[in-house]
């Protein structure tokens, strides 16, 4: 068998494929490829074409060229707000999520008892349905009867500090932090578990050597832990950023994008355009802008990673 394959490799490339395997392979691929073609590949092209049209599904589509894009980027004030909101969510959610996740993972990696119980609890929000989670948080943030507001009132009354709970979900300045808090609660367990796996891969000899050199706990964290988990940090940063770009359910259920569009996100805007205003072309254009943003941000991060991500094989300077 091996002899025949090695003699085959001296044949021209196209003759190496066994004809029977060729057809067999296509049969194996068929179910997946048919689905891929119909529900992914063709829709990608269709969506690009669609974004050049104005189409309500009721009247025939009308070709408008790049108007959907130019209007979005020049005169659409709501979309501008959507981009500002998205930027806010990225710069808050991503770093906070990584910081909390790493902090928890480092704490749990100290050989504590009860690791399984802590992991069970912190990971629990990850498996919960986002709709239910967003509903509870809406009630949780209620200014008059919510438990968070009550805790703040009581804290103020006990300590004499004159603080009042904000009207979280009706105040444009506070609705965004509410979405951030919900997202952190929901996803930090995931970040923690991924970091925990990375930490368990750090060789203990490195810590022993650092201790011998008299490094303090903080120094060990900074010069051993942080560089050793930096590939994980990079990975999490990219996927959390993509996740923050794609926020939808949190805002849709908890704040309905408001107040005053303060929590309207890109995906929410796609949803509004296509399924509330019946503007399929405009919706597709927003989706492409989303993709382009994700693409650019991922590309930039991939470029920047060379400066700070430490890969064991030859990354050492």
């Amino acid at each position: 068998m091996t002899a025949s394959t090695s003699s085959q490799s001296s044949l021209p490339r196209w003759r190496r494929y066994q004809p029977d395997q060729q057809w067999e392979a296509y049969l194996f691929l068929l179910p997946s490829f048919a689905g891929f073609l119909i529900f992914v590949a063709v829709p990608v092209v269709a969506s690009l074409a669609l974004s050049l049209f104005e189409w309500s599904l009721l009247s025939p589509p009308e070709f408008v060229g790049f108007k959907n894009y130019t209007q979005l980027l020049s005169s659409d004030m709501v979309f501008r707000k959507v981009l500002v909101n998205t930027f806010y969510f990225i710069v808050t959610i991503v770093p906070l999520q990584l910081a909390f996740g790493l902090l928890l993972a480092v704490a749990l990696n100290q050989g504590l008892r009860g690791l399984e119980v802590y992991r069970l609890i912190y990971f629990m929000p990850v498996v919960t349905t986002i709709v239910a989670a967003a509903l509870v948080f809406q009630w949780f943030f209620n200014r008059d009867f919510g438990i968070l507001a009550a805790a703040i009132w009581e804290f103020g009354a006990e300590t004499g500090i004159p603080i009042r709970p904000p009207d979280w979900l009706n105040d444009p300045d506070w609705a965004k932090p509410a979405v951030v808090i919900l997202t952190l609660w929901k996803n930090t367990g995931f970040t923690m578990v991924i970091y925990l796996a990375a930490l368990q891969g750090v060789p203990t000899e490195l810590y022993d050597a650092a201790k011998v050199d008299g490094a303090s706990a903080w120094q060990r964290f900074r010069s051993v832990t942080f560089p050793m988990v930096s590939p994980t940090t990079f990975f999490l940063m990219v996927i959390q950023m993509i996740g923050a770009f794609q926020l939808f359910s949190e805002a849709f259920v908890m704040t309905q994008g408001g107040p005053a569009n303060a929590t309207l996100t890109i995906v929410y805007y796609i949803y509004q355009m296509a399924f509330e205003f019946q503007r399929m072309g405009r919706g597709a254009a927003v989706a492409w802008v989303l993709f382009i943003f994700i693409f650019i941000f991922t590309l930039v991060q991939t470029r920047l990673q060379r400066r700070w991500v430490h890969y064991e094989a030859g990354g050492e300077s």
């Binding site: 194996f28 969506s47 504590l112 296509a274 399924f275």
Partner: protein
């Protein structure tokens, strides 16, 4: 490294001293502070669940009293009865279960067949086709959502299970994950089977799939949970109780009972309970499934 004499030797020694004993983490004072912090964090994580459960068992007057309490008094079990009478949550369960089971099994079937071809069979255009697959991994679902919606309407699948199941029965990501795993299985195993006259299909069914237990388990949990919790696509294509899944049903319920928090929270408990129960008993598998798949390159 002569200074090693001052440091305690490796951690393997205590286990060697008392063979058979499981190495228990020693108790340290510094750990106490960590425990305090972690317990506070745990309370914060569990508080929304507690608040949900407490509210679901209160009467409306109890809900709208200040200060709010985490202990309902009296306990109003009737809320649950009222909730399932107001909304067919049983039907939503069945819908969710049917959709999630179908999507998971179809996705694993189609993806493992394709992954087998990519990992094991030789055919013209293999690498090119795989690259095309990979390239689409980066494209967000939202780009293809609107054309898919139009296609579903055109096929008259709107508000049917076809719309919920068929477009998600394929996954580029699953193909990618499984191909990576299949490539790690020694080729000698299928070559031996082939010499015994086994067909490719038989090798897929009898050699590759049985040896892929861990990755299949992880993928099953990941896909099932993703389908069970999926919100945007079902929201877009279902329009009646006959097809609404749990998340969409719960959102619809909210639309109709906007301020009946006791009912909404009872509905949320009903929506969460099965997943949380399974999770508590199979925590390890859940965490492994989600992290393994999550790390797979998404």
């Amino acid at each position: 490294m002569t200074t090693t004499t001052t440091t305690p030797p490796t951690t393997t020694t205590p286990a060697a001293i008392r063979p058979g004993a499981a190495p228990r983490p020693p108790f340290k004072v510094g750990h106490l502070a960590l425990h305090v912090a972690l317990i506070l964090g745990s309370v914060a994580m569990l508080l929304p669940f507690g608040w949900m459960l407490a509210t679901s068992l209160k009467s409306p007057p109890q809900i709208f009293t200040y200060p709010p309490s985490l202990v309902p008094n009296p306990v109003v079990w009737r809320n649950y009865l009222d909730t399932v009478q107001a909304m067919p949550f049983g039907r939503f369960y069945l819908n969710s279960l049917f959709v999630a089971v179908s999507v998971t099994s179809l996705q694993i079937l189609t993806s493992s067949l394709a992954a087998f071809a990519f990992a094991r069979l030789r055919f013209r255009g293999r690498e090119a086709l795989f690259l095309v697959y990979l390239a689409t991994l980066m494209i967000p679902f939202h780009v293809t959502m609107i054309p898919n919606f139009i296609l579903v309407r055109y096929l008259r699948w709107f508000d049917t299970f076809y719309a919920l199941i068929v477009p998600t029965a394929f996954s580029v990501f699953a193909v990618f994950l499984l191909r990576q795993y299949f490539r790690g299985i020694p080729v000698e195993l299928d070559e031996a089977a082939r010499m015994d006259g086994a067909s490719s299909f038989r090798i897929w069914a009898r050699v590759i799939m049985p040896l892929s237990g861990p990755v299949l388990a992880a993928l099953t949990i990941f896909v099932f949970l993703g389908s069970w919790n999926d919100f945007l696509w079902p929201l877009v294509v279902s329009n009646s109780h006959a097809t609404r899944t749990i998340p969409v049903g719960l959102a619809t319920f909210r639309g109709q009972y906007n301020t009946d928090w006791h009912l909404l929270m009872a509905g949320s408990v009903i929506a969460l309970l099965p997943v949380l129960l399974v999770y508590v008993f199979a925590q390890k598998r859940f965490v492994e499934g989600i992290t393994l798949s999550g790390m797979g390159g998404r």
